[in-house]
């Protein structure tokens, strides 16, 4: 081995790798065998998910909204859901598997994960047939609506970065400053109930 200069560590076993290697890529690499329908997913969702995410993925309180928000990405207050924003279905399977339900993760079987993913497609109107079955075999054929709307980082081409000249130092603006917005007027620091848009 080219880089094995320290002789540290030991070989990982196949079972060890299988136990931890859970990630799923957009091309479907990493998906396990399994299958599940929208109807099966509804039952699991109602039992394990709806208390936080709502019966229809609408979100309870400040918990994440999973469905809806179509055509809101240019709106003043976008609603970024699986259906309106997420580019890849693989992320849904992967994330539910690795991190959900919140506070009790890694307990769902692969068939349950396929069923839940199918139900989330149904809640988002990506599939409309309650008998739709999602499986390892047909997974990569399902596309989410917003896949095409992501692009690679191009920040350094923005005008303020492209201009590398040193900025003005003296008499840069006429007149006196005028305050256009006060944080104290909003008065949300730090123990208020709500503010003008959070970060989650």
């Amino acid at each position: 081995r080219a880089g094995a200069v320290f002789g540290l560590g030991r070989a990982a076993t196949a079972d060890e790798i299988a136990a931890w290697n859970i990630d799923v890529r957009p091309d479907g690499e990493g998906l396990p065998e399994g299958r599940g329908t929208v109807m099966q997913g509804e039952g699991i969702y109602t039992e394990r998910c709806a208390a936080c995410h709502g019966d229809f993925g609408e979100g309870i309180g400040r918990w994440p909204v999973l469905a809806g928000g179509h055509d809101t990405l240019k709106a003043d207050r976008p609603e970024k859901t699986i259906g309106s924003y997420w580019p890849y279905l693989s992320t849904v399977y992967d994330y539910v598997n690795r991190a959900m339900p919140f506070g009790d993760a890694r307990g769902l079987e692969s068939d349950e994960l396929y069923a839940l993913t199918a139900y989330l497609l149904f809640l988002n109107d990506v599939v409309t047939d309650e008998d739709f079955e999602l499986s390892k075999e047909n997974f990569a054929t399902v596309k989410l609506p917003n896949e095409a709307n992501f692009f690679e980082d191009d920040r350094l081409s923005e005008p303020h970065y492209a201009d590398r000249t040193h900025p003005c130092m003296t008499d840069c603006r006429p007149g006196l400053p005028t305050i256009t917005m006060h944080a104290a007027v909003l008065d949300v620091t730090p123990e208020s109930e709500e503010g003008n848009g959070g970060i989650d």
Binding site: R1, D23, P167, R173, E191
Partner: protein, 426 residues
């Protein structure tokens, strides 16, 4: 008397400010008219308790804490930002700190499923995927690789994210405090990868944590092999649990989300995985409905930490110290300019302390305050010549819904009474 139970210590900084100004004026007047006096400051003329009675011995504080008089210097949470405190964030009290090193107990926290508590002997790091030999390392193995010490800032991608729509939170702890800077001790990530033997088509690396969120990000292999560290110490001691004990990834200059804590798995692949934290989150929505992805670097940025809303000017006109922090994910800071008149005129500040790439830089601007209101801003320029933009310049290109990567210039309004407010100006 004069301990932390003194009612005056519990009053607000605002009333403390008023009392301080009044008392100072009275003393000054007495000093001018009094000449040689029998009376004086009782803190001088009367023997104080600490000058008379013995204090605690050396066995009373095996792991020392700050003075009780510094009890306000703590991380703070903003409850409404997130659904609950388990997947949430708190803020470093930047307004109370100086220099460039953040004390370990004050480094802001950002967890997605709380703090994983892992015994180091139970921790494993696996390297697999497009490698010749998949490997497992224990912490004891990790400690036998050659070590390096590096000082880097870690900034959350969402730092200042609540300010995209305008001035909202009143204090640099809240507007800029998802930020810390410590010295990491660790080993080069490339040592672990090369120990397993990288295959030629291994162009991306997945780094994953052991916590219940399974935090995971895709990192270009070029960056992984360049300057990333697998770190087990911060500021000389073991990582704090909330910072990933026993081991975390260090990704210099890049958004904090990628600095995977409780690091347990490194998978080599030939394309990004596009997991939740690089699709649903940590992508930057533009005004036209499209979104940037893979916005890794944290751009050139600065903020005046004092005076600031939580650190008002508590003295009268005259000599005044303006201080703050500047940083860039693209290298060192070349220069920081400060204005006191809202950008009409700028003065080049004095950088003091180490100037290290992708680390915090401390700046000072010393001037004579004439007692009039001030509109304070700082503007950083990094070694690549990138100039910190205004918030308006950022919004003109990106709109108001990016959430992440707000490095716009911050304005503090200082009133004639010394109070300070987060404002936007034109």
């Amino acid at each position: 008397m004069a301990k932390s139970d003194d009612p005056a210590r519990k009053s607000t900084r605002r009333s403390f400010l008023k009392a301080g100004l009044g008392g100072g004026a009275a003393l000054a007047a007495a000093g001018v008219s009094g000449g040689a006096r029998a009376a004086g400051d009782p803190l001088i003329t009367e023997v104080q308790d600490w000058n008379r009675y013995s204090g605690d011995g050396v066995d009373s504080r095996p792991y020392g804490r700050p003075s009780d008089f510094e009890s306000q210097v703590v991380r703070r949470n903003v409850a409404w930002l997130t659904a609950d405190p388990i997947s949430s964030v708190n803020f470093t009290p930047l307004h109370e700190l100086d220099g460039i090193i953040t004390p370990n107990g004050l480094c802001f926290e950002r967890h997605h499923s709380g703090i994983a508590e892992i015994a180091p002997q139970d921790h494993r790091i696996m390297v697999h995927g497009l490698v010749d030999t998949p490997l497992v390392f224990t912490m004891a193995d990790l400690m036998r690789f050659p070590r390096e010490n590096r000082i880097y800032f870690l900034e959350c991608a969402a730092n200042s994210g609540m300010e995209w729509r305008g001035a909202q939170l009143n204090g640099c702890q809240f507007t800029h405090g998802m930020l810390h800077c410590v010295m990491y001790t660790g080993v080069r990530l490339r040592h672990l990868l090369e120990e397993a033997g990288l295959k030629a088509n291994g162009t991306w690396l997945l780094a994953e944590g052991a916590d219940a969120s399974g935090m995971a990000r895709s990192i270009p292999m070029e960056k992984a092999l360049d300057d990333c560290l697998v770190a087990f110490r911060q500021n000389g001691e073991a990582l704090r649990p909330e910072q990933g004990y026993p081991v975390r990834l260090v990704v210099p200059g890049w958004e904090g989300n990628m600095w995977v804590k409780w690091l347990r798995r490194l998978e080599v692949g030939d394309q990004p995985w596009e997991l939740r934290e690089e699709t649903s989150k940590y992508t930057d929505l533009m005004a036209n409905g499209k979104a940037r992805r893979h916005t890794f670097a944290m751009d050139v940025k600065s903020v005046i930490t004092s005076p600031s809303p939580q650190a008002p000017l508590m003295h009268e006109r005259g000599r005044t110290v303006v201080t703050g922090l500047a940083w860039s994910g693209h290298g060192t800071i070349e220069r920081v300019d400060v204005t006191i008149d809202g950008g009409r005129n700028w003065h080049t500040a004095r950088l003091d302390g180490p100037s290290l790439p992708m680390a915090l830089h401390r700046f000072y601007f010393d001037f004579d305050w004439d007692g009039s209101e001030l509109f304070l801003q700082s503007r950083a320029i990094d070694e690549r010549g990138l100039v910190q933009p205004t918030k308006d310049a950022l919004r003109a290109v990106r709109g108001e819904n990016s959430i992440y990567h707000n490095n716009g210039i911050q304005t503090w309004h200082v009133g004639k009474d010394g109070t300070v407010e987060n404002v936007e100006i034109s």
